[in-house]
């Protein structure tokens, strides 16, 4: 398979970037999108040029490192798929593919396609935990039964991999799906209830401080989310926020 790649190249955070064109040949349908970029990088190194920098690690769709806006969509055209799990068989011979970094003011570019998503970490540091000591003894795990539905729902929210596709897809670069998933996970469990008020207020405050946009319920985040995190989380965080504001 032969492709024309248009890839965003940017030396570092302080310089301006632009799209560069790279023709590439010999692409096999069984390759993942990142393996295709590996092939390109090997060619660039051979030619004495600098390889394209992008984030990736586990390459099995769970670590959330990989990103990339491929042809105008985060993680490319397939639903419920991270870039590392996107295979080249979904492209056609002769296609032109545009590859850009995830764009958001809160995700500044580090180099080429690599962005800084530490804003997500700071949102979680603001309250995404249960304040329980991790050493020593606690009560028996089965002392507090949790309704299966709530446990499953909490699990579903907790499967967010923090890749940032929701922000990248959103017309407002809003981080509400991410933040709401993190708030929901605890809101649904008895262990998380005690600190619910403080948690939601602090996490939303941090989210705003990081410069993400406001949610306007376009639903793009949910469509592009590789892990199918539901929009109900956003309703839940709104609810939790209103409740917390009324109390506090």
């Amino acid at each position: 398979m032969k492709l024309t790649l248009k890839i965003w190249r940017q030396k570092n955070a302080d310089t301006k970037g632009s799209l560069q064109t790279y023709p590439i040949d010999g692409i096999d349908g069984d390759m993942s999108f990142l393996e295709m970029l590996d092939v390109l990088n090997e060619e660039l190194i051979e030619k004495g040029e600098e390889p394209v920098v992008f984030d990736h690690d586990c390459r099995e769709g769970i670590c959330g490192s990989c990103s990339l806006q491929i042809d105008g969509r985060p993680h490319g055209p397939e639903r419920h798929t991270t870039t590392c799990q996107l295979h080249m068989r979904h492209f056609n011979d002769g296609d032109t593919v545009i590859v850009e970094p995830f764009r958001a003011t809160a995700f500044p570019v580090i180099k080429d396609l690599m962005v800084d998503r530490s804003s997500f970490d700071r949102i979680q540091q603001a309250g995404g935990y249960v304040s329980v000591n991790t050493s020593g003894n606690t009560i028996d795990a089965n002392a507090t039964p949790v309704e299966k539905d709530n446990a499953d729902e909490a699990f579903n929210s907790a499967t967010c991999i923090g890749c940032g596709a929701c922000v990248a897809a959103c017309v407002n670069a809003s981080a509400m799906l991410f933040t709401s998933a993190k708030v929901s996970q605890f809101a649904l469990l008895p262990q998380g209830e005690v600190e619910a008020t403080r948690r939601v207020l602090n996490m939303v405050e941090q989210m705003d401080k990081e410069g993400f946009g406001a949610c306007s319920n376009t639903g793009a985040c949910f469509i592009e989310c590789p892990k199918d995190i539901s929009l109900e989380n956003i309703a839940r965080i709104n609810r939790e926020y209103l409740k917390a504001s009324a109390e506090g």
């Binding site: 248009k6 965003w8 799209l19 806006q69 042809d71 105008g72 969509r73 055209p77 545009i98 850009e100 764009r103 958001a104 003011t105 809160a106 897809a169 017309v171 407002n172 670069a173 809003s174 207020l201 939303v204 405050e205 989210m207 705003d208 410069g211 993400f212 946009g213 406001a214 949610c215 306007s216 319920n217 376009t218 639903g219 793009a220 469509i223 592009e224 929009l231 109900e232 956003i234 309703a235 839940r236 965080i237 709104n238 609810r239 939790e240 926020y241 209103l242 917390a244 504001s245 009324a246 506090g248």
Partner: protein, 222 residues
């Protein structure tokens, strides 16, 4: 409720003011619609609205505040959202994951606002001048004629139709969205969503029908 500085608070304020305007729209539509079948009813209802003290001095200011608030908050959020992505994508396939209406509330909103300006110029300003500046005597039968005269112009009728098409888009997304923003997402949500979509089409379409009806079928001599 907490400070309006948080994005969620702003969104909730947007949703509440929007819902209020949706209610107002239903009331406005009901009165206008009477003009299609009964000149008399239309005149008497309009007269009531125009001269009832509660409507005039309590509801009307609240409505004006609601409109201005919805509009100002919309601009504030839009500015915040624009700042959240300073460098835009070279390639952005928004249609593959969301509707045009949902992504362009500011555009549909701005057109509706411009139309509101025209609407004020057409009806509200003359009405205020008529009543409070010139202090004309009460005339309970003038409303219907005034209405029909306005729809004589094809340009004005065209603008009117266009504005309501955009209102359709605005409501299509906004009405349902307000429930989500207020945290209301449960087993009834599907039914409510269906209702909001129906509402988003029927009400603006009704306004358009009224306008076209008066424009094409109801030209009274001057």
């Amino acid at each position: 409720m907490g400070k309006l500085s948080a994005s969620i608070a702003k969104k909730v304020a947007m949703a509440l003011s929007g819902l209020f305007l949706v209610l107002f729209l239903a009331q406005h539509f009901t009165i206008n619609f009477t003009s299609v079948f009964s000149e008399e009813t239309f005149n008497s209802w309009s007269h009531f609205m125009g001269h009832n003290y509660i409507v005039q001095f309590i509801f009307q200011p609240i409505l004006i505040f609601g409109v201005v608030f919805h509009f100002v908050m919309g601009i504030v959020l839009e500015l915040k959202n624009n700042k959240a992505r300073k460098i835009s994508y070279k390639s952005y396939k928004g249609n593959s994951n969301s509707t045009w209406a949902s992504r362009n509330m500011i555009i549909s909103g701005a057109v509706i606002l411009a139309f509101l300006g025209l609407h004020f110029y057409d009806f509200w300003v003359p009405e205020i001048v008529h009543k409070y500046v010139e202090s004309n005597p009460e005339d309970a039968f003038r409303y219907y004629t005034e209405l029909v005269q306005k729809f004589e112009s094809p340009v004005r009728t065209g603008i009117y139709v266009l504005a309501f098409v955009l209102l359709m888009f605005h409501l299509w997304h906004g009405f349902a969205s307000s429930f989500q923003t207020m945290g209301w997402n449960n087993k009834y949500s599907k039914a409510v969503k269906g209702f909001t979509k129906l509402y988003a089409i029927i009400i603006p379409l009704g306004f358009i029908v009224i306008a076209l009806y008066h424009h094409f079928f109801n030209q009274i001599p001057h």
